[in-house]
């Protein structure tokens, strides 16, 4: 159903009493409100949450190669969500998947952090290898749930694992918005602490930062941003890796700019990626996780090659 930009403005303006600039019919209005608007909003939210979490994760690990997908934080969330779907438990109503995802991603983040830290330094190799292990473990767990699932559940799980905004409803927006907004709005308040952390934990402490408290808070907020996104949109990889990198290239590594700018760019890129995923094989739909992976994975390889050079990562 085609809707022109003017019609979109008119439909939205009509809701707050602005006279329409172009004529539209009620069907267009219904499509915009029930299908397209929640989808765009969900892309905005998920993109912002993943990008901000990625940026914070890289600050926490003092390493630009950290990414929620690569480190198994997304798959930790995914495991618990798959569990709630297949076992059909929802004690918290629409918030069940989000909360389950949050718990899963928190566990993964804490596990990775404990594994990768040695003598208060992050060992990059250990970090990435631990990420592989946790990814494998969570995928195996999710595999068990997939194996146990009914046909309907199976179809849903498969699409959800590939990452998709196809299920965007106002319910999904409502369940993800509070958690992701909490992450995206609170995180920039810790910009200075994250900047100080880039000097190493000891130096951050010498600058008066309560390192332990900040780390705990960071883990919780990262898990919120990633978990809530995974719960509604499945596994969308590489946003958390690519977006902060692009921002750093443009504006430098200071978290005061990096965090809010990552939120904006993450939102923008995910809306664009969703546009691609809906149109590239229309009328069918390509899962958005595949789109981000096709862009993100080569970018990650490029970063790895860069890091081999002196002065690199």
């Amino acid at each position: 159903m085609p809707i022109t930009p003017l019609q979109v403005i008119s439909i939205l303006g009509g809701k707050i009493g602005i006279p329409p600039l172009a004529a539209f019919d009620s069907q267009q209005e219904a499509v915009l409100f029930a299908i397209r608007l929640p989808r765009v909003l969900l892309a905005v939210l998920v993109g912002a949450g993943l990008a901000v979490s990625g940026a914070a994760l890289q600050g926490l690990f003092r390493n630009p190669l950290a990414d929620p997908g690569l480190l198994g934080i997304s798959s930790g969330a995914s495991l618990l969500v798959a569990g709630t779907v297949v076992l059909d438990i929802s004690p918290l109503g629409i918030y069940t998947p989000s909360v389950a995802a949050f718990i899963g991603s928190t566990c993964s983040t804490v596990a990775i952090y404990l594994l990768a830290q040695k003598d208060r330094r992050t060992n990059v190799a250990t970090m990435l290898l631990a990420g592989i292990a946790i990814n494998a473990l969570c995928s195996a767990g999710t595999g068990i749930f997939t194996y146990l699932s009914s046909d309907d559940q199976l179809r849903m799980l498969v699409f959800w694992q590939l990452g998709s905004l196809g299920g965007a409803t106002w319910t999904a927006v409502a369940s993800a918005a509070p958690l992701i907004l909490l992450c995206v709005i609170t995180m920039p308040l810790m910009a200075n602490s994250l900047n100080a952390l880039l000097l190493g934990e000891a130096n951050a402490r010498f600058l008066g930062i309560s390192v332990e408290a900040i780390k705990t808070l960071l883990v919780v907020l990262i898990a919120l941003g990633v978990g809530a996104g995974v719960a509604v949109a499945g596994m969308i990889g590489f946003v958390g890796l690519v977006v902060p990198h692009l921002v750093r290239m443009l504006a430098g590594p200071s978290h005061r700019i990096l965090l809010p700018a990552s939120a904006l760019l993450g939102s923008t890129l995910l809306v664009l990626a969703d546009l691609l995923s809906r149109t590239i094989v229309a009328p069918a739909e390509l899962p958005i996780g595949l789109v981000t992976a096709f862009v993100g994975a080569p970018f990650f390889l490029y970063l790895l090659l860069q890091s081999r050079k002196p002065g690199g990562i």
């Binding site: 630009p64 130096n203 010498f206 600058l207 930062i209 005061r256």
Partner: protein, 285 residues
């Protein structure tokens, strides 16, 4: 002076069977330049780590600015005590001025950088001779330049902006700060630290080069196997006998032809038969 800036009182530290420090007491007065020397593994770094709160030991007591170290608020302490490590792990491509501005974090309310912060950062960058480096990418600097950037950062940290309460007591800890610098820059850094002491800043430095210690220290503490072997003015403690006891290496101590301090010359006597292999440290660089 009302009280010492730093009072380390009979500090002991054991890890397993090994005593890293035993019954070490060190004081530091305002405006004093204190240098700790000793062999590798003598406990210098362990002592510094306790003094800055990175390590804790149940035995002994550390007072800083007249209060127990643990009782200070981290942020208030950060405004008047800075620590420069031997190297700083920073792998992000900050501009040089941004790195120096990180030192102003404890002074900032709601993460807002003021004009004063920027001015102080510029001034400190000029003090370490890097005023033209403001916009350079930190990662492209040489190791020595990076170290001077961090020196500027810690100088900026204990500087107070015009509107701020003046902190008369301030402390600077330097953990082998000059190992990566050439001779001119070594002296530049230590000159700067010495200059700070005239403003009442206490400097606690670990140095490897005995001649630098001799030239700059008001007082030297020699650590040996976790104990204070000697403490006093350079002329008092930098003697052939004491240095042999501390380093198990024979040196010749002469007078510096231009300065009023001892001059340590390595290889004064044959250094054989003592089973000493680490001669590099005692000879200086």
């Amino acid at each position: 002076m009302a009280y010492n800036l730093l009072n380390i009182h009979s500090l002991s530290c054991r890890v397993g069977e090994k005593a890293l420090l035993s019954d070490v007491s060190v004081e530091l007065m305002p405006g004093e330049f204190l240098v700790v020397i000793g062999r590798n593994g003598a406990g210098k770094t362990t002592l510094l780590k306790h003094a800055v709160g990175e390590m804790h030991s149940p035995q002994g007591q550390i007072e800083i600015f007249g209060q127990l170290l643990e009782s200070h608020s981290a942020r208030e302490l950060a405004k008047k005590r800075a620590v420069l490590a031997q190297s700083t792990p920073l792998h992000f491509d900050y501009q040089v001025l941004e790195v120096v501005l990180l030192g102003r974090i404890p002074h900032q309310k709601r993460q807002v950088e003021t004009v004063d912060d920027v001015n102080i950062a510029r001034e400190c960058l000029a003090r370490v001779g890097l005023e033209d480096y403001e916009e350079r990418d930190y990662l492209t600097l040489s190791g020595g330049e990076q170290q001077r950037v961090h020196l500027a950062r810690v100088l900026a940290q204990i500087e107070h902006a015009p509107g701020e309460i003046h902190q008369p007591e301030r402390l600077l800890f330097l953990d082998e700060p000059i190992s990566s610098l050439d001779i001119a820059h070594q002296h530049e850094v230590l000159d700067l630290a010495k200059q700070l002491t005239t403003e009442g800043v206490g400097v606690f430095a670990i140095l490897h080069d005995l001649n630098l210690a001799a030239q700059y220290a008001d007082r030297i503490v020699i650590l040996s196997q976790g104990k204070v072997l000697a403490t006093g003015a350079p002329t008092q403690v930098l003697t052939q006998e004491t240095l042999y006891e501390a380093f198990h290496y024979h040196v010749h101590v002469a007078r510096h032809p231009n300065l009023d301090c001892p001059l340590i010359i390595s290889g004064g006597r044959r250094n054989t038969g003592d089973g000493i292999r680490e001669t590099g440290e005692a000879t200086g660089r």
